[in-house]
Symmetry: C2
Subunit: 339 residues, 2 copies
């Protein structure tokens, strides 16, 4: 026997006021005397009343919800902080983990659910620009996490080009001449940017681009890629690995091959996830502060939501090279001839 939930009217009757007064109370509006406010509040408690959110949303066309749309490719590290900030700012936090096929549909459906703001985390380089996304989202304020530097979309990014440059240049500075790469997926924006920056940095230093294998940002992907690298017969003494996870896997492959890091091969990676500092050897890597990234993303959408004349722009964070034990000067390395 499901007893019906009490409504505004039930409360009104109980407190002997009009339903409108009750509405004022639950929305914390002015023009209610302290006395009646208390009476209403008591009635609410007595009846166990809770406003019907669906009705409220229908009326106000606001759901106090921020939705994160991301592709199903591993939960992103910044989600953690996003959830926290979103709730702190009084919004609900919805995650849609989707595949490519659902992208347009998900964005469109957001409007019909009265989502107030959208944080889009693509896993591939999006072809369309701002206008295209704007059309899809049907006027909901949105930002993108990760985008090319200088993109016209409202976005929050870490400068990937700079990050990969830092990593590659570090290897060059240590005297390495043959620098290989395990890249992320090139269809992924970050993977693409890091890869190109690795090449560009090498070129600018007057070095040949070494061998490069495209992988998938996973531990196992890194392991496989490094095996290929080692078995390819290519010469290299340093490797730029496009993220820490792949570096873990790659390291295992190097050890299995009978070589050592950094004695035989230096590796630099990207992200600085918490494990990297405690890895043996400690990973030299390019740090991105994911908490910060998440927080900035949320703050930006909320800005857009609450302050409609916020200018569309890009917020660019600079990554930082963290030097640990996985890289060494070439002169200190034994020459790599075990093959």
């Amino acid at each position: 026997m499901k007893t019906k939930r009490p409504t505004l009217y039930d409360v009104a009757r109980e407190a002997n006021v009009s339903y409108q007064t009750v509405s004022r109370v639950i929305n914390d509006k002015a023009h209610v005397s302290e006395e009646t406010r208390e009476r209403v509040q008591k009635a609410i408690k007595t009846l166990g009343f809770r406003p019907n959110r669906a009705a409220q949303i229908m009326q106000t066309e606001r759901s106090d919800t921020i939705e994160v749309v991301l592709f199903y490719s591993g939960f992103n590290l910044f989600l953690y902080e996003m959830a926290r900030i979103v709730q702190q700012l009084g919004y609900h936090f919805v995650i849609s983990a989707i595949t490519d096929a659902d992208f347009a549909r998900t964005l469109e459906s957001a409007a019909s659910r009265f989502v107030d703001g959208l944080i889009i985390v693509p896993d591939t380089r999006l072809r369309g620009g701002y206008e295209e996304l704007k059309a899809l989202t049907g006027g909901i304020p949105f930002i993108q996490v990760g985008a090319p530097l200088g993109a016209s979309v409202p976005s929050v990014i870490y400068d990937q080009v700079q990050g990969a440059r830092l990593a590659t240049q570090h290897l060059i500075d240590l005297g390495h001449q043959n620098i290989a790469e395990i890249s992320g997926p090139l269809r992924n924006q970050d993977g693409y940017d890091r890869h190109n920056s690795w090449m560009a940095t090498l070129r600018e230093a007057g070095l040949e681009a070494g061998i490069s294998i495209e992988s998938n940002f996973t531990i196992d992907g890194g392991y496989q890629a490094m095996r290929h690298l080692l078995e390819s017969g290519a010469e290299f003494t340093g490797v730029f690995i496009a993220n820490d996870s792949m570096a873990f896997g790659a390291h295992t492959a190097i050890r299995e091959y009978g070589l050592r890091v950094p004695d035989d091969i230096s590796i630099v990676s990207f992200d600085d996830i918490p494990e990297s500092a405690h890895f043996v050897p400690g990973l030299t890597t390019v740090r991105q502060d994911f908490n910060l990234l998440g927080r900035m993303a949320v703050e930006y959408v909320v800005d857009l939501i609450e302050n409609p004349n916020t200018a569309i722009h890009q917020r660019v964070l600079q990554p930082k090279l963290i030097i640990r034990e996985s890289t060494a000067a070439l002169t200190d390395q034994r020459v790599n001839l075990t093959r």
Copy 2:
């Protein structure tokens, strides 16, 4: 100029049918001729109509939403798979990351948002039983992830007691007599269960419980705890560390202290996160399959939602000991006298 969204009526007019027929079409109901169905569909496309979810939810009192309520203590590994399955089954996925204070409020608000099912992930041992939670959730089907074995709440759990027993017994089997522990927070159900099981296993083997330090499941927590352990002057050759993250940190502390794993100290931990296999030395650890756990949790709530006479029960998964290189037989270890 915000042009109003088209409604059922607009579509009805465009397609020259009644609004009810349009409703039938968008809900894929029977009793609509193929011809009119197509006509309506065309009208929907022409006008760019999308049903107003808020109105639908208000009417049906269903939101097709499953909410995960978890405490703000790091994103849990099973979230990934949960998101996937939830969406695969046609529900929306909402995450509420909360602190203790918000618990009751969040559960209560779920009803007013017409959440269809709740997955509760406590970070502390919940005092109340099934009835208490049931009262809070106001009749929404819910399950809990993590609970004491034998609890009356509908729950999906890994048998923590068995897991910690496996780990501890492994150390005992290797000949270790002085077995210390870095535990998780004891207010946490898993932390509590693992700790007690470590003690019980030792007792049953006729051994004294070694020194134990309570920590917080983080890398740094593990690091600090191991330092305390080492500086305490206590004798131990094996340590049960309540999760892999703490083991990473603990390993760093051991190395800094000039000792080696497993030569001087054997460590077993818990979880088997992907990094553990690639750690050096590979971590001997108790594996929990978080994807499986996530999937089972979702399937259970959906069962409860869609099939109201599903019996309340507990689904218990058994963890598995994965032996790698962080443990060794006592006889193979050099005696630990470096102190």
